[in-house]
């Protein structure tokens, strides 16, 4: 279905939101992403992905958890929606499915 496909970065962000469970806000996601994948992404690109994922209905958000380090501003905390979880699962099963279809010979060095 068009519009619900997950991009690679979006998928990573979605997974990170799942990992962080109820502490998933922009900066924490950026940090976690860096820790998990070793790749540094800018805060703006993470936010951009979050906004898009929320528009697609995979995430929902609420405000909360202000700290002094944030100048007293609240965090926008994201959680997975059921359709978000389904989307992740679909991606995974699609992958698994495709993985299983790769003939073994490929993994054995491809000697022909």
């Amino acid at each position: 279905m068009k519009g619900t496909n997950l991009g690679e970065f979006e998928e990573l962000v979605l997974l990170t939101v799942g990992i962080l469970y109820d502490e998933a806000y922009g900066l924490a996601i950026t940090d976690e992403l860096a820790a998990q994948t070793g790749r540094k992404s800018t805060i703006s690109s993470v936010h951009k992905a979050l906004v898009r994922l929320e528009e697609k209905g995979f995430l929902r958000s609420h405000m909360g958890g202000a700290t002094s380090a944030r100048g007293g501003l609240k965090k926008r905390l994201y959680t997975l929606t059921p359709s978000g979880a389904t989307a992740l699962q679909q991606t995974r099963s699609l992958r698994n499915d495709m993985w299983s279809k790769i003939p073994n010979i490929v993994w054995e060095g491809g000697a022909s």
Partner: protein
Amino acid sequence: MRHIQPPRWAIKFLRWFCREDLLEGILGDLEELYARRREKMSKRRADFLFAWNVLLFFQPFAFKKRLSLFPSIRLFMFQHYFKISFRNFRKQKAFSAIKIGGFSIGIALFLLIGLFVRDELLIDRHYEKGPQLYRLLNQTNNPQDPWTRASCFPAPMAQVVEERFPEVEETGRLISFDGWYKAGSNLFRPADQPLNQFEERFAYADPEFIQMMEIPMVYGTREEALSKPFSILISRRKANKYFPGENPVGKTVIFNDEEDKPYVIGGVMENLKQTHLSGFDFFITLKEVEFWRGEQSDWCCWNYSPYVQLKAGADHKAFEEKLAEIREDYIFNYFREEGDARVDTMEKYMYTQVQPVGDIHLKSKDVSDFLVVGDEKIVWLFSAIGIFILLLACINFINLSTAKSANRAREVGLRKVIGSHRQSIISQFMVESLFYCSISVILGLLMASAALPLFNSIAGKELAMPWSTWWFIPSLLGLTLVIGLLSGLYPSFYLSSFKPISVLRGRLAMGSKNSALRSGLVVFQFTTSIVLIVSAVIVYQQMDFILNKDIGFEKDRVIMVQGTNTLRDKIPVFKEEVLKLPEVQHAAVSSFLPISGTRRNGNSFWLDGRDKIDEGVGGQTWWVDDDYIEALGLRLLEGRSFDLNRVSDSNAVIVNKMLVDKLGLENPIGAKIFNWRDWTIVGVVDNFHFELMKEQIRPLAMASSAYGDILSVKVETGKTEAALAAIGKVWKEFKPNQPIRYTFMDESYARMYDEVQRTGTVFNLFAILAIFVACLGLFALSAFMIEQRSKEISIRKVLGASLRSIFNLLTVNFLRLVLVAFVLAIPIAWYIMNDWLNGFEYRIEISWPIFVLAGLAAFLIALGTISVEAGKAATANPASRLRSE
């Protein structure tokens, strides 16, 4: 720990563009990140990173909805505006064509002039060591004598300057004037080719000069090109002409058939461009050259132009002051030792100027040397004309856009009623103006490209559209944007100000408050046009004056057979043979003729025995033969011509009236005068013009000699063709290895004034275009005014007004404006053209009929233009106009 604020302006910016719902989360994240960074790095760095992060958020997803830069509705409106612009364009084809045509002519002219001016300004600006390069100028500021500047100095000057002043890094000398030994023109051939060919553009230069002026080389090196005696540097085009497809370095060449004095090619340079040296194809070395014994250390004779390269950072003004020492110790000293009386005036008025090489092209009009230089005044005048014509075109554009506003008034009214903001109507007309402007710029660019060859031939340039430069396309886009927005400004604000109710009720109430502005624009346009017409006529008249003035000699029916010097001792025999031809009346041998490019010199004359007492009179000594006066038709006032059979005539001179006057001779015939030796005057001729009319006729003495470079042949009327054939035959017998080369004296004379002719052509062109553009403007304005008054006219007609009275009513206002323009134009044109004419020693006076003529022309053209619309309005059926009332 106290919370440290990130840069406030960045937060403000974020708050400005960021969506409310996202703002808190984003700003919070950024602040948290900032606090974390502050512990690790300096505030500056953290601030910078914070601002950078904010900037990264400047993306569509984070924008406030109403701010969105390219939301679809806007985009849609822009498409709509384009469509409307295009429809309007199609609906009024003629009107749009006038609008765009006038505008693109203005832009084309502006582009051409821009290219020209840029080219002029860039000459000699490309040297790596440009700021260190200077040439010396000798300036005499004697109130009795007009201010003069010359680039010539005695031979040892450069060396003395270099040895004396530590700030001088290098010096090099140039001899560029025609007729100084081999400088100027020569007959030239490679040693292994038999055919002598005529070549111009020779100059002498020091080996160092080539390095200082960074002459680009094709073969050989700058250091070695002229380092050996008798070496010569030639341009690429001449190398291709004589040695096609090979490296000519090391080849031997022969000048004027002098096989005993061969020269060797030391290098080939690129064809020189964008420098004051562009005129030269050949540089002959000055290495170990001595034109006569002891010449190189002699302070007598001023023939060399010294160029100086100062050390980096040296102050040329301070250096200029120091040159006083040289004047005192060498120049004045020399004249004192010689007992020359001129030294007192010299001490008082002589000054040595240090001129940056970059200034040579545009700031040396008054320097007497043989370099071809530009004219700063012309450059500024052209720039002014270019900007004026562009302004005229813009004004027209504005006028034409507002003129048809009545047609658009309903549209604007309706848009407003439907809910358009004034802002969006403004942007609609801005888009429209940009649309027209883009088309005009493209058209203008095409016109300019098409007209470039013509323009090049008029301006004597080799300009090309600089497509490949990085700035050309961006600056064109910039030009389009600026002109489009500027000329759209007034129409869009004006049109968007219509009140919907009054417009839709059919009452287009446009006050007279704008008419002052519009009238001002018409006056401005016509003033410019009249000034240009007057200028064009005056340039034409001056040219006519120069070509037809009594110049004191007869230039018609004279064939100048060039290059007779290679005949050597056979010159008199050749002349005898030519004289035997039935078509020939007279023939005279001389290198000196009253035509530019023939030989010249500088001498001083004294009354007998007063050479150590008086200052002397500056003038020229020419060597001519016994037929010279008859062949050129000089008027002998007293005495006789030469007689080569008289032995005593080797001491005889014939002088011009100016020399007699300057020396104050009462009875010139038989009087003795001194110039290096004693001379006896045997004849006096009337003054004749032998220099450009920009200069006064100078004193002249003619001594007799049977030899020279040119045989001037006066032929019978109508027998020119036959004479040419006959002379060619004789020449072939004498000189089979050198094709005959001849010019007609009247043509050579006219060529001396090519520049004036060119100025005239350019003014004509500008005047025609300016008038054309101004007419478009007037047409637009009359159309506008008449549309305004169409109901009034209809009512007048219904009430019985005659066709003529309506016509008068409509035209008289405009003609009044033209009259005002005329009054304004007179002093401006008079001032500019008087200034131009002051450059000529012999000039016409500006007379009133010119102004009357120009005024009348402008008046008639204006009347014609207005009549088109006025006539239409006056003959229109009133019923069709009043029907809707």
